[in-house]
């Protein structure tokens, strides 16, 4: 069961939606108020097997 399904089951889907909306707004770096541009860090791994 994913988080949305679990939240719906517990009547908390709206809360989850709100939290995610707030996160997207906080992280949005787009200068265009109608667009969304959100950077996310990742670990880049390079392996050279023998």
């Amino acid at each position: 069961m994913n988080a949305f399904e679990a939240a719906e089951k517990n009547g908390r889907a709206g809360d989850l939606q709100k939290e995610l909306e707030a996160l997207f707004s906080r992280e949005n770096k787009s200068p265009n108020r109608n667009a969304t541009s959100i950077p996310a860090s990742f670990l880049r791994v390079t392996v050279v097997p023998n």
Binding site: R12, N34, L43
Partner: protein, 224 residues
Amino acid sequence: MTSTNPNKALWEKGDFTRIAESMRESGEALVGGLGITKGLRILDLGCGDGTTALPAARLGADVLGVDIASNLVEAGNKRAKEQGLANCKFQEGDASNLHALKDHSFDLVVSIFGAMFAPKPFDVAKEMVRVTRPGGRIVMGNWIPNDPTLVAQILKISASYAPPPPEGFVSPMMWGVESNVVERFAAAGVANEAISFARDTYTFNFPARQQSSSTPSENITVQP
């Protein structure tokens, strides 16, 4: 037909192509820095609908995309056909068991936020090494646990609403910890010196909204 593989069922349940649309620019930029040349044999593991595979094929590589989800394989083949890329094929497969692929058959195995979501991480590392030719390369992009940026925060929020994972569950995010990566590839016979790390940034771009379209967070399918 209902899938009996829970990981496959999970990925086929949502429509990841909606998120993938926001990843095209960063996908293309990342591929542009991989030194891809014409004829290079590339395997893209956990390829989705081709965010990495298609730009690699446009650079002239011979690309095979493998994904557990049949709907994403179908979407990838459709996109390749639409773009006239005969050198890019997609097929179903499990990153932890690539039995359909021969040993040492690829110059570059790439997996950007793909194989990290497969169960059995030690098997995943072993399979990636097995299908890479000696002297070839494996490049993974893995989200980082507890990072303050988007993806780790989505997972943190989601976890507070979801039931606890089953006992013995290994979080995909552990692929974002260097010591785990070293341990997994060491078990596949790779020396520490053959592994390098860099922190990088991927940007999700959602274009300006139409009145009737959904918000970015509504497009998120929260995976474990």
